[in-house]
Symmetry: C2
Subunit: 254 residues, 2 copies
């Protein structure tokens, strides 16, 4: 079982979309996949289940906040996609920062809740655009980080904070927290995008996947309707790029 | 003097871009404007000053974290745009949540630091995509909130958490925290965008500005190069829409 956290402090770089589409692609290939939605916005939960209103029980909140917390295994729900399962996010985690800060072993709560979890080939954790304790829990619980980054100056600026924070947490928590891959996203095929991609490749070298995810309205449309991109528009440039990315990831981590 | 916070938990809805472009437009009209960058990413700071590396002193950090904190007036810097000033953001505020949580009067620190601030017609506070203590400080320090929202389901989902959090903080802090306006952004002129705009107008009614900000590559290009949109592409659809929005805001708040 491999666990990866999708992370970047910059908002809107496609953490959720990439989490969901990679998970769908792997599930279609027959891998058993779990998505853990660690973002209070719960956009992964909506996209995988269509659920807009939060259930009162059975969300990630119960694995992290109550003293008698549940395990991740207790919270797993099916999605309509065979082989693809989800632990639903919770908007009540938006104040999670303050509540987690007081708990013992506060950075390891998610990892603890995942003890004994088995039967999955891949687990993806979607995170919020922040570097707080929720995101830190996702980092600690994972084997490595996947960093989607838009081909913009703002995307690159966020990397400095990410790398600073990673270095700090590696020292403090005595953990590896490796970046296993960086994905260029929302490629507009402009000169801007080309130049930015070049500086991202210069900075991250071989960590950057060859596949760059194009901006493609079909991806946005599939998200808006909570339909799998591979069902909604299997021939779209977005779906083809996601399929190519999955192949690269499998080669890199197998 | 009117103080407004640009806020939305959803990442990438154009909080920063709208803060910067509205500020430029008002400054060009002769209003004296201050931007306070309360997002650790400091994208407003980069866009207004071109600065990528943080100064060791003179940022918002010094107004909020040290015991002998500075006032906002101490931290004001000029930009190249006449009438437009900035209080630079600080990446060290990314752990601000935990540091602020322990301070007395923790929601009012920014408001306190702004005591006695004068000589500005408008102050805009750019916030991060979160609802933590930094954002709460921006809300408490402002006369009202401006909520940019992309015409997507994810944008709308974020509104539920925003409204829940607003209601809670209004009760707890006994403050008005009015939403003075909602702006539709990144309009792709697709059926999707139209449908979403309709549901946003149904939900927020007269709070939604008539002007909708279009997706326009010139806006992204200006941001990437830290150049004012009104200098870089004054005839662009982006610049024209920002100018129309400013007129609406002036009518609404004058
Ligand atoms: N390939 C694509 N083409 C067009 N739009 C896309 C694509 N991928 C994602 N989007 C859209 O871009 C926006 C940002 O993507 P998404 O919400 O997945 O980013 P995020 O990093 O998860 O955001 P947040 O920081 O708020 O969690 C969404 O509206 C999404 O539907
Ligand atoms: N009108 C526009 N047309 C095209 N791109 C735009 C437009 N406005 C903003 N952008 C781009 O969209 C992206 C998101 O905008 P921006 O960073 O301002 O959002 P934000 O809400 O401040 O994000 P965050 O949540 O990370 O603070 C940026 O890359 C920006 O350059
Ligand atoms: Mg997301
Ligand atoms: Mg911003």
């Amino acid at each position: 079982m491999k666990v990866y956290a999708l992370t970047h402090i910059k908002g809107g770089v496609t953490k959720t979309t990439t989490t969901v589409n990679l998970s769908h692609a792997l599930a279609l290939l027959g891998y058993k996949v779990l998505v853990i939605d660690a973002d209070p916005q719960s956009n992964s939960t909506f996209t995988l289940t269509g659920r807009m209103d939060e259930e009162t029980t059975g969300t990630l909140y119960e694995a992290l906040i109550p003293d008698r917390s549940k395990t991740i295994a207790d919270l797993i729900k099916k999605t309509e996609q065979e082989n693809l399962f989800v632990v639903e996010g919770s908007m009540w985690l938006y104040t999670g920062e303050r509540e987690l800060a007081m708990k013992s072993n506060r950075e390891h709560l998610l990892k603890k809740a995942m003890r004994g979890l088995k039967g999955f080939d891949y687990v993806f954790i979607d995170t919020s655009p922040s570097l707080g304790l929720m995101t830190l829990n996702a980092w600690v619980a994972s084997d490595g980080l996947i960093v989607p980054i838009t081909l913009t100056t703002y995307g690159m600026l966020g990397i400095r904070i990410l790398e600073y924070s990673l270095a700090k947490e590696r020292r403090d928590l005595e953990l590896d927290l490796p970046i296993i891959g960086v994905i260029g996203t929302l490629d507009d095929h402009t000169k801007n995008s080309k130049d930015m991609l070049l500086s991202i490749r210069n900075h991250f070298q071989e960590l950057v996947f060859d596949t760059v995810l194009p901006r493609n309205i079909k991806v946005e449309e599939a998200n808006n309707q909570a339909i799998s991109l591979f069902e909604y528009a299997p021939q779209s440039t977005g779906a083809k790029a996601d399929a190519a990315l999955v192949k690269e990831i499998l080669e890199r981590v197998a």
